[in-house]
């Protein structure tokens, strides 16, 4: 069962969708629902959530997020794409822009685990490498979780 706050998170997205419902809104909602399930389940294993974000990406489009990661903590970067997503990628870079990790999957639910050797800022790139069928964009959601 969803926690109280996750239910509110879903509600918080409603005004914008009610005002101007679009395919992008629906896609992001689907992606967030998928991601929220992963977050809730992760709590049973001691994971907690730093931040969850969502976006709509066209094929080849990306978003980059700056994150502070603590030395010694375990981090799991997770994302979900909606049904229009094909291969969604997560790529982690250090502060100098050097790639340090990326997901291994070719699907729409990538995950990257990382334990920083030192506390620092990193860049997380969320990338729509491919979409499914004739889709021209996909809703995606990404979370930074830790334990």
């Amino acid at each position: 069962m969803a926690s109280n706050w996750m239910k509110v998170a879903a509600l918080a997205a409603l005004p914008a969708m009610a005002a101007l419902p679009t395919a992008a809104d629906a896609g992001e909602k689907e992606a967030k629902a998928c991601l929220n399930t992963k977050i809730w389940d992760g709590y049973n294993d001691g994971w907690a959530v730093r931040t969850a974000v969502d976006a709509t990406l066209e094929k080849g489009e990306h978003r980059v997020y700056l994150v502070t990661l603590y030395a010694g903590n375990e981090y799991s970067l997770q994302a979900c794409g909606d049904g229009d997503a094909g291969d969604i990628d997560l790529v982690l870079h250090d502060k100098e822009g050097k790639e340090v990790a990326r997901d291994k999957s070719d699907d729409r639910e990538p995950k990257v685990s990382f334990t920083p050797p030192r506390t620092d800022t990193y860049y997380v790139a969320l990338y729509a490498a491919s979409l499914s069928g004739e889709a021209d964009k996909a809703g995606v959601a990404m979370a930074v979780t830790y334990k």
Partner: protein, 276 residues
């Protein structure tokens, strides 16, 4: 709240040894058919979004535990009530952040009544910041569950940890983009104050670099505190916050933190918190 179990496989990734040490430009464990097909540029990094930049108070405490410092931050939280009786919305946002941090950090130790008081304080803050009705309604639902003893401590931790996440879209939509960074600033300042105090008490100053040195986070807060427009009436707390952030920026730019720098962080953060 009943959560389904799911084992999250923790996979150490390419270019990392068992300690997660980055060792190469390209991830060694990326499969051959998963070769990078995009190169991210300096412009991508320069334009990175900062919504996930600031660590949560619970995350700060976990990092403290990992460093070998056993002191619980909850034992250091000043239990004096924090009022939302302020006109300046920047100040209210910072106060709300402090209360949120205290709520998360003390959930295991606080009485039911004190926890509910803090939730009521957050409700007042949301109202004064111009937030919507959804979060306050859910706070009322949560208070009822607490009063009825329906939630375990672990479930409460999850609820409170998620509160800060949920308030982001709610407040950004209803009150404005500037609110969330200032709430985050309040939580981060409280966390930094408590962590620096714990480091001092433990005398474990070698842990300070990994626990307290976050120059990009300080820059992020400075950007919003110094923004133009909105509710920018002169305010003692906001003026002190600017001074504190300037001090923290100077400290964070040092190559390494020692006892003096930890003391500076503790005093500078305390100078803001003491005004709340």
């Amino acid at each position: 709240m009943k959560l389904r179990a799911l084992a999250l496989a923790v996979v150490l990734l390419g270019g990392c040894d068992n300690q997660g040490e980055p060792t190469a430009n390209a991830p060694a464990d990326a499969p051959a058919d998963k070769a990078p097909d995009i190169q991210f540029t300096a412009a991508d990094f320069a334009n990175a979004e900062k919504v996930a930049l600031v660590p949560s108070p619970a995350e700060m405490e976990r990092s403290l535990e990992r460093s070998g410092i056993e002191q619980k931050l909850a034992s250091m939280v000043d239990d004096s009530p924090i009022s939302m009786d302020a006109e300046n919305k920047d100040q209210i946002a910072v106060r709300a952040g402090v209360v949120l941090a205290d709520l998360v950090l003390t959930v295991k130790e606080s009485s039911k009544e004190r926890t509910i008081e803090r939730l009521d304080t957050i409700k007042v803050a949301i109202d004064k910041l111009g937030g919507g009705d959804d979060v306050p309604a859910q706070i009322d639902e949560l208070k009822a569950q607490i009063e009825a003893g329906e939630l375990t401590n672990d479930e409460l931790i999850q609820e409170f940890d998620e509160l800060s996440q949920v308030m982001v879209p709610e407040l950004e939509y209803e009150a404005g983009e500037w609110v969330v960074p200032l709430i985050q600033a309040g939580s981060w300042l409280e966390g930094a104050h408590l962590v620096s105090g714990a480091v001092q008490d433990a005398g474990k100053f070698e842990a300070a670099n990994d626990l307290l040195r976050q120059p990009e986070v300080v820059d992020y807060f400075i950007e919003y505190v110094n923004r133009e427009g909105g509710d920018k009436a002169p305010d003692e707390v906001v003026d002190q916050l600017k001074s504190t952030l300037s001090t923290l920026k100077t400290v964070a730019d040092k190559p390494a933190l020692g006892a003096d720098e930890v003391a500076t962080i503790h005093d500078a953060t305390g100078s803001v918190l003491s005004l709340l």
